[in-house]
């Protein structure tokens, strides 16, 4: 599984990337929304872990752009708020699920695997295009 981690906290995602690599994941990282969109186009991740609050292009904006162009890519949001409000709003906008920061690696892996299964299902279904 190829996953893209997006968060402006570079030390956080680099460490998390290393932990996921140790567990067999293929991991890409981006520290801002623009770079994340570029990585989606160039490297084709199947699952994206996306921080909601980032400088510049925010997480929800990045989510909309990813889902608008690549609906089969599954996005898990990462929120630092004390409430679930942002995560639920993100799911309404097409996110697969959300996690609160800091994360539990086991929980993240479970959600990523579930997201990957949905990706695989979506990727095999032909896209319906308007006539």
């Amino acid at each position: 599984m190829k996953v893209l981690l997006v968060d402006d906290e570079a030390e956080f995602i680099n460490t998390l990337a290393e932990r996921l690599q140790l567990r067999g994941f293929q991991v890409l990282t981006s520290t801002d929304g623009e770079a994340a969109l570029q990585a989606v186009e160039e490297d084709g991740p199947q699952v994206v872990l996306l921080d909601v609050m980032m400088p510049g292009l925010g997480g929800l904006e990045v989510l909309q752009r990813i889902k608008g162009k690549h609906p089969s890519i599954q996005v898990i949001l990462l929120t630092g708020r004390g409430s679930t409000r942002e995560g639920i709003e993100g799911m309404r906008q097409g996110a697969f699920d959300f996690l609160m920061k800091p994360i539990k690696i086991e929980e993240l892996m479970e959600k990523m695997k579930a997201a990957y299964e949905v990706f695989q299902k979506g990727a095999t279904e032909p896209e319906v295009k308007p006539l």
Binding site: E9, E11, F12, T15, L16, E18, R19, L22, M53, G80, R81, G82, S83, M100, K101, P102, I103, I105
Partner: protein, 221 residues
């Protein structure tokens, strides 16, 4: 404080709690990565392996504690976003009890919220409500003895809701507060203006020879 000043304070605090969480998240992943490497080297000769594992578990425990505190502080900060919202009284009491545990601990007293079995939705100012609940807690903490238990118990009334706040010996079960006196204790008079804004009253009442207070809220939704 004006609503604008309260909202500003909330915004600043919320922003800082986000930053604290980012710091904690990085510490958590860094110590987690060290644990991963330690597991990979389990069979290798590393004389301090066990000690390292213990220390890393301690770091993870402190991170979890820090996360809980910053999450609660974040929630408190966001309670300043809007001057009036519809909230669950059980939830706000749980929050106030958590945020004031340290004050209780310093007095060697236990603080506990007893949620009502039914949802108690009220429309009020969440920041000022927490302020008067905390003021009531401090009033009773000043009158408590070590090993006492201070209980906050919300209940529905007609037409609103009330919170019974009482000192009880830790082993006793909370008793209903009856026959409250109408006068606000002199130590709480400074909060009269805030109580007026909340359309609320605080009434003193004795239970089993110990001090108690009732916060009466007149608006519900």
């Amino acid at each position: 404080m004006t609503d604008q000043e309260i909202a500003f304070m909330g915004k600043m605090t919320a922003g800082m709690t986000h930053e604290i969480k980012n710091v904690l998240a990085t510490i958590k992943e860094s110590s987690g990565l060290m644990q991963d490497f330690l597991k990979l080297r389990q069979d290798a000769s590393f004389p301090y392996g066990e000690k390292f594992a213990q220390i890393l578990a301690g770091i993870q425990g402190q991170v979890a504690r820090g996360v809980e505190i910053s999450t609660r502080l974040n929630r408190f900060a966001h309670s300043m976003d809007e001057p009036v919202i519809t909230l669950d009284l059980n939830e706000i009491i749980d929050q106030v009890v958590f945020l004031n545990q340290r004050q209780a601990r310093l007095k060697q007293t236990e603080l506990r919220g007893i949620p009502s079995g039914e949802g108690l939705r009220i429309e009020t100012d969440p920041f000022r409500l927490q302020l008067v609940l905390a003021a009531a807690i401090y009033y009773l903490l000043d009158r408590s003895s070590p090993k006492d238990l201070i209980i906050l118990r919300p209940r529905k009334t007609e037409p609103g809701a009330a919170v019974d706040i009482q000192i009880t010996a830790a082993a006793e079960t909370a008793k209903s507060i009856e026959a409250p006196r109408p006068d606000l204790p002199p130590e709480l008079v400074e909060f009269q203006n805030i109580l007026d804004q909340l359309q609320a009253q605080i009434r003193p009442a004795q239970v089993g020879g110990k001090e108690g207070l009732i916060l009466v809220l007149n608006k519900t939704r």
